[in-house]
Amino acid sequence: MPTEVDVKYVAHLARISLTAEEEQKFGAQLKNILGYIEKLNQLDVSHIEPTAHAVPLVNVFRKDEVRPSLSNEDALRNAPAKANGLFVVPKIVE
C-alpha cells in the first residue's frame, strides 16, 4: 500500500511554503520513495533494540564555568534584521 502523503500538511509542519507545482511533484516522488521504503516491513524487528548512534555514547560532563563566548556584536553579525543589540522579529503577541 504505497502511502499517500498529505504534502501540504507535512510541509506546513516543516514550515516550508511550496508552490502548487512543487506540491504535486513532491507528492508523486514521495509516494514512490515511501513505496520503496516499505521494504523494511518484510523484516521481523520485534525483538531488536533500536540504534540511535552507531557508537555507544556516554554522557559527557564539564565544569560549569564562565568562559569567553561570542560578543553581542558577533552574535548579531549574520542577523537579517537587528536593533538595539537584539534580533528583530515580527510581532508575536497582540
Binding site: V5, V7, V10, A11, H12, L13, A14, R15, I16, S17, L18, E22, K25, F26, Q29, L30, N32, I33, L34, Y36, I37, K39, L40, N41, L43, V45, I48, E49, P50, T51, A52, H53, A54, V55, L57, V60, R62, L70, D74, A75, R77, N78, A79, P80, A81, F87, V89, P90, K91, I92
Partner: protein
Amino acid sequence: MLNRLTISELSQKLARREVSAREVMQACLDQIQRVEGKLHAFISYNGADALAQADVADKALAAGARKPLLGIPVGMKDVLAVKDHPLNCGSKILGSFTSLYDATAVSKLREAGAIIFGRLNMDEFAMGSSTENSGFGPASNPWDTTRIPGGSSGGSAVAVAADECIGTLGTDTGGSIRQPAALCGCVGLKPTYGRVSRYGLVAFASSLDQIGPFSKTVRDSALILNAISGYDPCDSTIIPEPVPDYTAALTGDIKGLKIGIAKEYAVGGLDAAVNSAVQNAVKHLEKLGAEIVEVSLPHTEYAVATYYIVATAEASANLARFDGIRYCARVEGADPIELYCKTRGAGFGAEVKRRIILGTYVLSSGFHDAFYVRAQKVRTLIRQDFLNAFQKVDAIVTPTSPTPAFKIGEKADDPLQMYLSDIFTISANLAGIPGISIPCGFTANPQLPIGLQLIGKPFGEETILKIADAYERTTPWHKEKSPLS
C-alpha cells in the same frame, strides 16, 4: 607544475627550501584560473588570503619550523566553518553568512601548518550524489565535463583530481566522500564515526556525518587524517581513542590479512566495467598476499531504505534552525510562522525540501514507530552484520559506486534512482565504520575512473589505509591525470 605534486612530495621540497609555499599556492591559483571555468569546483575562494597564509608558512619554514602540513594548501567543503569566511552549505538560504569561528578540523589543520583555502562546491546541505543540487550551479567531472563529479562533496573531489588544490576536506553522511573520490579518480576516506570532531560542521544527519580527506595518494590521506583526528571538548560524540601515526601503517605488506567479499554486493545494475575492475583488484590483493574470504551481510538490501528514513528524520530536525531569525536571507511575513515558511520556501532547493518533508513525515504523529523506530531497529541489524563479518575478516572490499560518472541531468528527476546509487557506501555510515575509496581502473570509452572501496572495523583506519597503500604502490591508476589536470 607544483600543483600536480602530492603532499608528501611538496613537504620535502618545502622543508629543503627548494620551493616556497607561495609558489605552491600560486601554482594552484594559476591552475584554477586555467580550468575552473569548465569545472566549478569552488563556490568562492580568496586568493589574497591564501597567499598571505603562504607567506606566514614561508617565514616559519625559513625559521626552521617543521610541521606535517606546513605550507600545504587544503581546500574546504562549503559546509565547514572557517572564521570570517563565507559559509553557504551550497545553499542560497544562508545569504551572506560568514563564520564566527573555525571548525575543529580546520583549527587542527592550521596547527599542522596547512593553508586553509576556498569554499568547495557541494550538493545543498550535503544532500545529493552528483553536486547538481548546489544552489550555485553544478560542478563538472574533470574526466568528462558533461558528467557529474559525484557528490555531495563533488567540489572537494574535483579540486584534487584537477590539481586545483593539493588536498581537501569533505564530509560523508552516506558516501559523500567515497563516491565522488571514485568518480573523479582520487582517494577519499570516511573515518569511523567519532574519530574526527564535527564541531563547526553544519549538521545534516548528526548520527551519520563524518569529516574526512580527499587526496592524490593514500599516504596523503593518512597525513591529513593524522592532523584532523582526536579528542575535542566541543563535540560530545567524539570517541577519545588515541590517534596513531597513520603513515606508520603504510608498510606495503598485507600478507596474511583477511579481506572479505560480500555475496550480497553482487547486485543488479552493477556496470560491467566496474565489476571487472573490482574483480581484478581483488585478484591483485590476493597476489599481494591477502586471503580473500567470502562473508555475508544479509541486511544489505535494506540499507538504502533505512538510510533515507534515519538521515531525513535527523535532517528535518537539524535544518529547523534555518528560519530567517538569527541568520539566513529572510523573506518577511505577517507573523513568525509565515516568515519561516516563506524564508524556507524561497531559500531551500528542491532536494532539501523533499528530504525535510520526508523526514518530517516519518517523525510525525502516527508514523514515528512504523518508520523511524523500525528503521533504527534495522540499523541495529545492519551494524550487527558488519560486526559478525569482522569476526572473520580484517576488511571488506566492494565497488565504491555501481556505475562510473553519469551525465549531468540524467537522474535529476528521479530521486529514488539517485538514492539507489549509494548502495555500497551507505551501510558504513549506518554502522559507523570507516571506508576508503581508491582508484582501481577506468572504463574504456569514454575514459572514466572506477573506485574500489575498503571498509574497516570501528577504528580500523590503519588496516584499510595499509591495504589501500599496498594496492596503490603496485598499480598505475592513481598516476593517471584527467584531461583537465
